[in-house]
């Protein structure tokens, strides 16, 4: 109440500042315009003089053609499987690990693990890329989705445990203590009582991990390079390479793959913002 009153005292921003800010933001959103108009133009129109002109009509042929030629649904399915499995594993594994690390803080063994996982966040993928690749070859797991899921989970693990640890420290002990006294085992106490309380941070973990796996390019390039198992970023990169003179098709394929993540962004933006802020504290 007090804050609100003070805000109004400092008054509205001048008109010029309003105009500048709207222009700056427009500039940042403008590149999407290119993607959208290219996706709706027939091929001849993308080669005409002015690339910024609006399409004459909404031509949907690009989308059907791009879906057919780029094997879009296969890559989409692969991306979806990897993202859903990866996120589910991360939520279970990281919440459990973080819980025991925080609750057994006094034991040196568990306290050290917090630092080990935090250090893993800093590790560049390049450092272990080649051994991972070679190990997967000798295990005959290269170009399989489980291998890719495992590697993505491994590299997201440290960050998600860090997020969970920060939140679990704020969860009061009383509830679980009561359950433990009543003879409920630690495992049951965790899943029945603690885990439901973690819902806000779980949402953040889900959104950030999903975004990371869905958009990942570098790890996918090393682990799953065959077309049959390629995820969307990989499939698109090779499709764009093949369709260098069919920009309309490439644009349509790109636009299609943004849609699911855009929908998620619209509904879960709050959690993305929270997660970025929480994650930034590690600095």
């Amino acid at each position: 109440m007090k804050k609100k009153r003070l805000r109004t005292v400092s008054g509205k921003a001048p008109l010029w500042l309003n105009i500048i800010m709207w222009m700056v933001v427009t500039l940042f959103v403008a590149p999407f315009y290119i993607l959208i108009i290219y996706a709706f133009k027939p091929r001849e129109a993308t080669m005409l003089s002015n690339p910024l002109s609006l399409p004459d009509s909404l031509y949907l042929g690009n989308f059907t053609e791009a879906v057919e030629k780029s094997n879009f649904f296969l890559a989409f399915k692969n991306s979806l499987i990897c993202t859903i499995c990866g996120v589910a594993i991360l939520v279970v594994v990281c919440s459990m690990a973080a819980y025991i690390i925080v609750r057994r803080q006094k034991s040196r063994f568990y306290a050290i693990w917090q630092y080990i996982f935090l250090a893993a966040v800093m590790l560049p993928f390049q450092t272990v890329m080649f051994p991972i690749y070679k190990d997967l070859v000798s295990l005959k797991m290269l170009n399989t989705l489980p291998a890719y899921i495992l590697v993505s989970v491994g590299f997201q693990l440290g960050f998600d445990i860090f997020l969970y640890c920060g939140f679990i420290k704020t969860v009061p002990l009383e509830l679980e203590e009561a359950a433990l006294i009543d003879g409920c085992g630690r495992m049951r106490t965790f899943w029945k009582i603690v885990f439901p309380l973690l819902k806000p941070v779980t949402m953040t973990v889900v959104v950030l991990s999903a975004l990371a796996i869905w958009n990942d390019y570098q790890m996918a390039l090393v682990v799953i390079s065959k077309p049959a198992v390629a995820t969307l970023p990989l499939a698109q990169q090779s499709f764009i390479g093949q369709q260098i003179s069919y920009l309309n098709l490439a644009a349509a394929a790109c636009l299609l793959s943004i849609i699911p993540i855009f929908v998620m962004y619209l509904f879960l933006q709050k959690y993305i913002v929270k997660g970025v802020v929480a994650g930034a504290v590690k600095g």
């Binding site: 003070l6 805000r7 400092s10 008054g11 921003a13 500042l17 309003n18 500048i20 800010m21 709207w22 700056v24 933001v25 940042f28 959103v29 590149p31 999407f32 290119i34 993607l35 002015n50 690339p51 910024l52 594994v93 990281c94 459990m96 690990a97 025991i100 057994r104 568990y110 800093m122 590790l123 560049p124 390049q126 450092t127 272990v128 890329m129 080649f130 051994p131 495992l150 989970v153 491994g154 630690r186 495992m187 965790f190 958009n215 390019y217 570098q218 970023p233 698109q236 490439a250 644009a251 790109c254 793959s257 943004i258 993540i261 855009f262 933006q269 993305i272 930034a280 504290v281 600095g283």
Partner: protein, 286 residues
């Protein structure tokens, strides 16, 4: 009886950590140990046999002209993106927080580029540079010129990441008490003075965070130049990560590349922690 129960309870405690431990060991710890082993050999990455060659890879790395090139490109990219993202994000955040009409909408719009994957970002900017620049502005694309290519790639990062940094600055700005700014205003300070002497010092932790983050992202950059130019033209946009990747997967010099990757790890950790330390110290002084 109690001894047995204690043992069981310890075992259940460890079961909580076990899955994370196994995945960590399989994906990070074991490969890391293998990596250190490979770095001191002359392995080509394919043959069954290879020899330990001591520090030969390390000395060769420091004499390699390509190393210098990769370091130079990485540094240039890191400086442009780290400085650029932070200045842009700070300026836009402060602007949007001064009672602009529709600020909430503008803030979410600024965040939108982050949903585009690297591949899509590279495609969009490839079209802007390739089609819009020459046709609408009469400027050639920066991506084919060895002098401007890093700048061109850095622009993609500025576009995609500024919104992300804004989120952190925004949170920092919310923590500046309104009363403090009000007090400065009542004392007759203008907006510019208030910003530099009241708001900015309070934002110091956010600055530390963002500078450190984008320093790390910059030094480890792989995807942007890989997708946009594949390190070209020539090797004009080859960053250190691409340099390492190429030694593994196209030059067949795994031992050498692995040594380069280890040196990179040490450099990244060293530079990031030195900068963080310096910034934290300054935070306290402010």
């Amino acid at each position: 009886m109690t001894g047995k129960r204690k043992w069981i309870s310890r075992l259940t405690d460890f079961i909580f950590l076990l899955p994370a431990f196994v995945i960590f060991a399989a994906v990070i710890a074991i490969p890391f140990i293998q990596a250190v082993g490979i770095a001191f050999t002359n392995w080509d990455g394919l043959s069954k046999t290879y020899q330990f060659n001591g520090l030969t890879n390390l000395t060769a790395l420091f004499r390699d002209a390509q190393t210098a090139n990769a370091v130079k490109n990485t540094m240039l990219y890191t400086v442009i993106t780290c400085v650029g993202v932070n200045i842009l994000a700070l300026a836009i955040t402060v602007g949007l927080n001064s009672n602009i009409r529709g600020a909430r909408f503008l803030k979410s719009a600024m965040f939108a580029p982050i949903i585009a994957s690297l591949v899509i970002t590279a495609f969009i900017w490839g079209r802007i540079y390739g089609d819009v620049f020459p046709v609408n502005f009469g400027v050639p694309t920066p991506l084919t010129n060895t002098k401007t290519v890093v700048m061109g790639i850095a622009m993609m990062c500025l576009w995609r990441d500024t919104g992300l940094a804004m989120v952190i600055y925004n949170a920092g700005l919310q923590s500046v008490p309104e009363e403090l700014k009000e007090a400065a205003r009542v004392d007759g300070a203008n907006a510019w003075y208030t910003f530099w002497h009241v708001t900015f010092p309070m934002l110091a932790p956010a600055v530390t965070t963002c500078v450190t983050l984008w320093l790390g992202y910059g030094l480890k950059v792989f995807d942007y130049p890989k997708v946009a130019t594949n390190g070209g033209p020539g090797k004009a946009s080859e960053t250190f990560c691409i340099f390492v990747y190429n030694h593994f997967f196209s030059n067949n010099r795994a031992g050498y590349g692995q040594m380069a990757a280890l040196v990179m790890l040490i450099a990244v950790v060293g530079i990031t922690s030195a900068v963080t330390k310096a910034l934290r110290k300054r935070e306290v002084q402010m």
